[in-house]
Symmetry: C2
Subunit: 336 residues, 2 copies
Amino acid sequence: MDKIGIVGAGAWGTALAVVLTRAGRQPTLWAHEPAVVHAIRTVRRNPIFLPDIDIPGTVTVTDDLAAVAANDAVLLAVPAQHLRGVCRVLAPHWPKGAPAIICAKGIEQGSGALMTELVAQELPQARLAILSGPTFAAEVARGQPTAVTLASGEPDLAAQLVTLIGSPTFRPYASGDPVGVAVGGAVKNVLAIGCGVVEGRALGDNARAALITRGLAELARLVVAKGGRMETCMGLSGLGDLVLTASSRQSRNYSTGLGLGQGKPLEDLLGARHDVVEGVATAPAVLALAARLGVEMPVCAAVAALIDGRMTIDETIGALLARPFKSELGRTAIER
Amino acid sequence: MDKIGIVGAGAWGTALAVVLTRAGRQPTLWAHEPAVVHAIRTVRRNPIFLPDIDIPGTVTVTDDLAAVAANDAVLLAVPAQHLRGVCRVLAPHWPKGAPAIICAKGIEQGSGALMTELVAQELPQARLAILSGPTFAAEVARGQPTAVTLASGEPDLAAQLVTLIGSPTFRPYASGDPVGVAVGGAVKNVLAIGCGVVEGRALGDNARAALITRGLAELARLVVAKGGRMETCMGLSGLGDLVLTASSRQSRNYSTGLGLGQGKPLEDLLGARHDVVEGVATAPAVLALAARLGVEMPVCAAVAALIDGRMTIDETIGALLARPFKSELGRTAIER
């Protein structure tokens, strides 16, 4: 099981291709943009999504999506809102029982589907796993130490994939809770926007730390309501990824929030980027899902209301910081 | 209950005096250093420990430690390793039943006593509470929004003190778990040194986020072993304070670790400061306590070994990052 497909050559897909060569694999990377295919083929770089990183010659790049399905395992690293369409193209070519490793973080608008649910619907013949954690792509590509969660409902598969993709500086840890991983990865991007807003308003590190604490509590409520596990929230794909995303300008979601907090219009902030800010599309999807499950998520609600213009920035700040906890959050929030 | 004593005019004690005047109280602040007493009296500033903050005229400053006991409640904001000596001076003057609010974060060397245990021994006539959370002193003094945990074994007392010290930008949340708060506040400073080391070595944000995740798991193990509650670890005094301290150069512990990671000698780093880096003294005390209780704390162990010269910086990095998790930390670490 050495031949691995990677669908999506954004920053994360490209970094995964680099890190897989370090694990001794032969990745084939599918890129949506002809310019990316061309650049990787000719200069071994992805100047649009992951500049300054050399892409080894052992990475094959392709524009043939269907062909990528014909690998021993496939990593799905496209934006969350595009994953269903991509899966539909892959489905007819997907070998029965071949593993799909979800590397997208989000919840689908409209359906409210988790990435795991969506792939199970579209690729029913795949064996499912999901990879998530605190992973700035450039750091992974440079070989800086990174640890991630790799979850599957099939313990054998998780263990097998850990060996397949792991290397000394990129350590996956097996988990049996794909739902907890999928929810955590989606919600943390929305929370990161809120934390960025707080920094954009120069409210200080104390306020941001309080908001991260409150945010993890609401993330955990949704995980548990969806049938995931509390301890997953406290691991790399929950707390770890939230801490990373909600405190660094390297994060697209955090820096988008930061711009919003400084009073810049969302359209300008998104228009200036060529990559996807997952939390923007996922915010309303998180809220709809939370409403359906009867879960209170005031931080995500404030972010969603700011994004779609129902709340001003001042109202949002009020909602983010007002009464962040009931008694101490532990009792009311985490334990329910 | 308007007259409040504050013992210790470091950055935190001074900020507490400022924030208490915002709550409408009349604080009396005891300073150890005559220069601090003089500066606050004459120019309403504390140039040594909290420069650039105006100290309102409603704050009385004193050099008479015994006299501070004669207040409606007293906040104890001295360094952890000095708290016992201070309590012994206060004890003969302490009114029976007057509340002591511990604002120190650490574990006593030698005895291994938590701050709550130490004060219970030395001030048996006091009613005990402990205040902790993500609180950079300068932000609190400037009135930037801050939320903290205020814990007491007596629910009535916690509720009363919340009202006494709270104001719109400084919100205490009541907790019934003083042990969990005391352990969390002590351990997070040690973990912050480790996170600083990782930044000092330029290992990246991914590695730091993984270390914070691993660190919270070992903090939680010690809390539970001491009889505290898991949910306290996930609140402001656990996760919240850890996130703050382990990701900002505003933190003395984090910036000391950063210097160590850059290869600077500990003596030079501490010699250049006039304030106390709590994690340095607490590291061996945490380890001794953990050993007595049979709790594994590999991150704290690595920090302690680096501090006392038993480990080189390269060995420390290895210990901080090697095999950070067993399967996924949730199962092996958090749930035990």
